[in-house]
Assembly symmetry: D2
Homo-oligomer: 351 residues x 4
């Protein structure tokens, strides 16, 4: 008899939904008992409904599960991980919170809502209490927690320890983002093979706004955004997984290269202290080789949960420049949400 916490997955057939299944397979705390997807999939077995796209096979138990419709029902567990696109999430997620569920969402729909925590556990796990300001929570304990955009998450991990120690004033970032970030079928191969697409709809705005909220501080009832400015250039490149980002940074207090590298390598935080199962031992890894990080070589560090930084060097205009890489569907999506779920469990929000 299992004593694991039952969890559901909303949007279970998509790219991020599949990563949830992969990451939760044999999870020490959680066990998937409920899968939901669009009407097209509802009622089918998961193996029939999903075009599985990962290099590890579908866990047999999941393959044989029936896909539910994307609405709370009697068998929906308290904790639901959501991997819906923004438009669907806008409609569907509140219904789950309304019905008393803990919704841990990867969608952008409610990230910037005033009463919804936007959390990277290593960065701002202390924003979780914002949950208590949600009307659902007050009514029946239902709530919603989100994780940032896949392009923001690696960047903010790299910024967080510097922001704490030295303060950050200005950030330029140009991204080279993997195709898996666009879901499936996502980017047509004719658009990206041997090509670059210098545009991802709404991505730059998300990076700019989410970074300020993530690095902000929690007030009694809202998050005061960090006082910094970010300018983002978002590009799509022919990479399967792993977002690479070129960053220039202006600090508030001066810092030497070795201080910055130490700030990264030594960075440990709540998830590491709480020994959350999905937390990487070292959230930020500095690679010294001049041509790193690279998506193919570094995206799986810390089981895909570590951000890898390299090429720290002086910037002609600001103070420092560097490259950061993180796995966009693990640390940048499903793994981010699982870690949020673990944090909520550890902090007693699922009790």
């Amino acid at each position: 008899m299992t004593t694991k916490i039952p969890v559901g997955i909303l949007g279970a057939t998509g790219t991020v939904g599949q990563r949830f299944i992969q990451l939760l397979d044999e999870h020490p705390w959680f066990e998937i008992t409920w899968l939901a997807a669009s009407d097209r999939s509802a009622g089918k077995l998961y193996a029939e409904a999903a075009k599985w796209n990962l290099a590890t096979p579908v866990p047999p138990k999941i393959a044989a599960m029936k896909v539910s419709a994307a609405a709370p029902d009697k068998s929906t567990p308290r904790l639901v991980f959501a991997a819906l696109d923004a438009a669907a999430a806008q409609q569907i997620e509140p219904a789950f919170a309304e019905a008393g569920h803990a919704v841990v969402s990867n969608s952008s729909a409610f990230r910037m809502a005033e009463d919804v925590p936007l959390i990277i556990p290593e960065v701002n796990g202390d924003h979780a209490p914002l949950i208590k300001t949600q009307s659902w929570y007050k009514k029946n304990g239902g709530f919603m927690v989100t994780n940032p955009n896949c392009s923001a998450i690696g960047l903010v991990l790299a910024l967080a320890p510097l922001h704490r120690r030295f303060g950050i004033d200005k950030i330029f970032v140009a991204t080279m983002q993997a195709i898996s970030g666009a879901g499936y079928p996502g980017v047509p191969s004719m658009d990206i093979l041997g090509n670059v697409i210098p545009y991802i709809a709404k991505e730059e705005d998300k990076m700019e706004a989410e970074t300020r909220k993530l690095l902000g501080s929690l007030n009694s009832s809202s998050v005061i955004p960090a006082d910094l400015v970010l300018s983002a250039h978002c590009n799509r490149v022919a990479v399967e997984d792993g977002h690479t980002e070129s960053v220039s940074l202006k600090l508030r207090s001066p810092a030497q290269a070795d201080e910055i590298i130490a700030a990264w390598n030594e960075f440990r935080c709540l998830p590491q202290k709480l020994k959350l199962p999905t937390a990487p031992e070292q959230p930020i890894i500095y690679e010294t080789a001049p041509d790193r990080p690279q998506p193919r070589l570094d995206r799986d560090r810390g089981k895909g949960m570590s951000a890898v930084v390299g090429r720290l060097r002086p910037c002609n205009i600001f103070d420092w420049k560097f490259t950061v890489l993180s796995h966009n569907t693990i640390r940048g999506a499903a793994g981010a949400a699982v870690l949020n779920g673990e944090l909520l469990k550890a902090q007693g929000y699922l009790g």
Copy 2:
């Protein structure tokens, strides 16, 4: 009987050498009469010496030519286009200038030398008189002219009209550069397939220094670099041809979007006035679609000689941001040098 000007190609078997051959095939002014390459190739027929890598076949006349050693000989024509790597150029190119040849070089070896013009004809064709300060020129009419790095050239084309009209203060640029920029065999496929390499040796320094020289002004005997600061992040991506660059810009005088776009689209200059054969009708093309320019779709505009710009939008930190693309082995290398050769001819330096 041909009345064309005979030209030679140094480094004829490499990636840029092949582009020289392709671009000079049926050129209205120039005719290749001499090919030289490394000792390994010298003495062979070109068809045997070169691993031809372009989508158009080797011109049969060239295929049957004998490859000379990389030293001036009696059959070397006055005008020599050079496509050597920097180390080889450092040794070999001066010997040609010394022997009275006009060396139009694509190499980085002498670009920053005080008496060597670094020229994009549309940008600073007026720097050509620097030739006259060269000791070779004074002695026997030999001289050397260079074109910039493939990553600088598209950027500087896009900057030039803005620099003239509004003044440029600061520039951030993150590049996504094609593999052909590294020559052949160049980048191993295991390093770049499905990957990004966030490093190109010396590239960032070149972009920063060359941009200032190109946008500088000619004094009696030297170039005063432009008073601007550039910070570059150079990356290699899995694209065959075409460098894409994300740019943020701080101007000296304010400018509206439509003024900037007009400055680009209306930009015509010396090569257009002189009707140089390789000059594109429109050196800078602004594309209005939100997801352009893209290497696969835009690198061949103006027969590979136009820079294509898009996504002009406000920058949170500086004034404006945009994307620029140019064909790295045509506008960024062989085509750049051919256009320099044409400029020199039109200006009487080859007489």
Copy 3:
């Protein structure tokens, strides 16, 4: 005043439709006067309706044309090139033939219909009289002509001269087909980047049946398929354009390597004799380098209309093996249909 023959394009916004527009721009005989596409596009300007995907820009005249609905109307010219998918073609193409139009189709819908000629002009231009058996033709001069599947066309070009000289008994072929063969959006990048898909729906059956019809002989009222057996393995690879095929061949009469190569290189036929504008000078080019043909280097030979063959060597099981390559959206689709249109014009079927 133009004296060109007006032509229409059905399915003008898709991948093959765009190639039609590219190939017919400045065509010496034909001029596009009518464009049609799905209801979603009808009524819009072409520039708005089509997501243009080729490296040459949309011709400005075409960009400004209004897209018609996919049904014959008063302005539909006599000659219509059709680039519809099979399901749409099944419904729509007969309506045009019924209305008296000459439909030159790239679709698979009617290729194997008994009274519809399936033509590669170099191979079986003499099958065109089958047109006269069509009920539409008898009624009002309307008719339909088709070209083969993109994977069959390069293969059959390579087979035709051998079939004529030596007879062909059995053929093994394994294809490595480009993504553009699947149209747009077509193959998701997540399915093909760094990957092979060993399956293309219905493709193997098409290759087998069409090859026998193309190499067959015209009876009074039907085509007797060639008496040969073909076994095909169809694969999709990460190539933009150009289908590469590994072929093993059993001949009916023995042949030496030099005889086979001569049969290929010397192959000229009706389109070359008639000097059809789109006909390549040399329909089959044998490349002697051991690692050719390659899609990137050879697909554009003969402006994309030549098949390139290489690696002829003995087969342990059959007689010979070799590799053949052809451009799948030019020789294998739009160019094939344009050449068919030219053949029909030259043979008086459009009069």
Copy 4:
């Protein structure tokens, strides 16, 4: 105190050498105590000598080991895994056997030597006694064992159970091989990005000869090659890891599809019975989805040691056709050799 068997790696810095290190890290039986590479690397620390190219980091213990010269010395352990290219192996491997070492080689140099076993443990583990005919073995117990070419190994795994049950007469195979098969730097990116190279030097001959030896039977002192004919077409495609092969097969006795699939899925053999640590539970996996196997999705099955088969369907010319895939640097190289080493240990050859 470790009781593991010490092993050495010859050619430790290359692509296959790195896989050896990855696979032997935390191996239950073997422990790497000696690394050797070319003179260029000898004397350096491994971390400095190797350009590590795998997605898992170099094991720290290995990184700190000193690289020896490629000659037997006092610290060379009895068992040496060799990952040299053929020319180097030809010179170097015999010196190790001569010095009494058990050389388990991935090289092609001695695969077809009459007294050298060429082994896939699941297929012909019973060929190992050929070792005893080697002069080295008789003299001092030194010997050499090889594994097949990376393109032969997946094919032969798929053929073996069919050959046992039904007999195989003829095989056509066209391969689509990954770039890692060519080592590092190996295939230049300019040759393969968006391209196919229809040629791999000597590969077709290797596949043909090795398949017959692997499926042959051991006589008192030599292997009688299997009486079958194979015709191979070898192609390189833009895939990082995993060779995909299209196969047509003529059997000696008729077989139904379900019998063939059962023969594959049920195939277990010596390595499974002996529970060799690197042996996959299921050496051949039949995938029923019509578009499988695919390199990206299936190469890691059985930790990269299973061959994955799919698309079994009738062949117009022979009996059956199908697709087979296997990981070329694991099952096709380092993993193959490690499994051979384990077999030798289990059979007492290392005693």
